[in-house]
Amino acid sequence: MTTTATWTRKHLLGLQELSREEIELVLETAKSFKEVSSRDVKKVPALRGKTVVTLFFEPSTRTRVSFELAAKRLSADTLNITASVSSTTKGETLLDTAKNIEAMSVDAMVVRHGTSGAPMILAEGLNCSVINAGDGCREHPTQALLDMFTLQEKFGRIEGLKVAIVGDILHSRVARSNIWGLTKLGAKVTVCGPATLMPRGIESMGVQVSYDIKDVIRNSDAIIALRLQKERQEAKFLPSMREYAQLFGINAVKLSEGKDGLIVMHPGPTNRGLELSAEVADGKQSVILDQVTNGVAVRMAVLYLVLGTKES
């Protein structure tokens, strides 16, 4: 894959606004950064002197650690702020908190927030770069980029791949970002889940809808199982977790119907026995830990591209 695109964006807010060429540039750049993490000295001086702050208003281990390691391996200084210790608990607004942090000469802010669009508000109000690490039910661009990177690595291409996204599509920012990205790169995307968790009109995003997990498994090259967000199920979208596991959970028996080379992905954290049986999560078709490894490389690529890009 060769790409001639140049990166001119100061922020990464979502994959909806990115072109195919821009996505390919990130994936291509990430390939080089993956090598850095395999060295004895896992550090390059590319972002020396830059300061990256992670500002997380929702719990996260994987994404925050991944961003922090990515920044550190590029020699940037990092600082982590979580909601429980931030001044928003004292009534300060999100933008005020962010502006105060920025006033201490911060170059990039990595933001996760429960409200869709929160990173956009920050991008408009701040002078530093803003990277979306998940906003409400809208987008989680770096997760989708690392999923695409993993697919590219496993299959050598994305064009023409049949990718199924299974689970709570309604509340999933991972699903939305993946749909934007995968369809732009020419994959055929099918979404599958309970009717109550399927957004109305999702077909307009260029995906097929299925309610039959067995049929989906038989016809896919890769399956992205989504985490069932128990905290978002209070409104009784599901009769019971047990029923969900039986109808949409992926176990070894269901998976045995799939094609040779079918891979299973999950953005984590996994509810074992719910979306995936333990056997599948740890099985040889699972690439969950490859996704985590690739996440650092992809986030290094994003930080490298976004930081220092002058306002276009």
Partner: protein
């Protein structure tokens, strides 16, 4: 306007001579070549082949991308494309010959030295370049030089190699830097 300073025969002879010089100095023992992307990689491969034809020794070679070690990363607007570094042997204790096409300010070599020290501690690092055009901005010199070409700073030295450029080998000096 451009003048051809070296043709394919001259380049071939220069590479062969440098291979002899590299071997003359310390033989093929612990020797390894590392090419700096893009054309340094091609030249390193040619040197490797020449060393093999002279001495029968297969010396390891690697590829170095110095983008992340550049000292002007914060000055340029759009970030330059980063390509993979591929060094699949341990450089510690080795005699490393860094290979590049044009030796100019010395900043690329400075970046390459920084990058190499992240991979290990070679016994020695030497530098082989096809063209030395002068105008150093750092106290760095080459150990093996294909040809010294005095230039003005405004001129542009272009190395064309069959493997990377799909054209006949040549070294050209162009007026007015692009």
């Amino acid at each position: 306007m451009s003048a051809k300073i070296m043709d394919s025969d001259a380049i071939r002879r220069a590479v062969m001579r440098m291979a002899h010089e590299i071997l003359e100095k310390a033989g093929p023992k612990d020797l390894a070549l590392i090419g700096i992307r893009t054309r340094g990689v091609t030249l390193a491969e040619r040197l490797r082949q020449a060393i093999k034809s002279i001495e029968g020794a297969d010396v390891p070679s690697g590829i170095l991308d110095i983008t992340l070690y550049r000292d002007d990363l914060t000055l340029v607007g759009a970030k330059p494309l980063v390509r993979e570094t591929l060094i699949d042997f341990d450089i510690t204790g080795k005699r490393i010959v860094l290979v590049d096409d044009v030796f100019f300010t010395g900043r690329t070599i400075r970046a390459a030295l920084d990058a190499l020290t992240d991979f290990g501690r070679p016994a020695k690092i030497e530098l082989a370049v096809l063209v030395d055009r002068g105008h150093r901005e750092l106290p760095i010199r080459a150990d093996f030089v294909g040809k010294n070409i005095p230039t003005s700073k405004e001129q542009n030295v272009k190395v064309v190699l069959g493997e990377t450029d799909q054209a006949q080998d040549a070294v050209l000096v162009e007026e007015g830097r692009q």
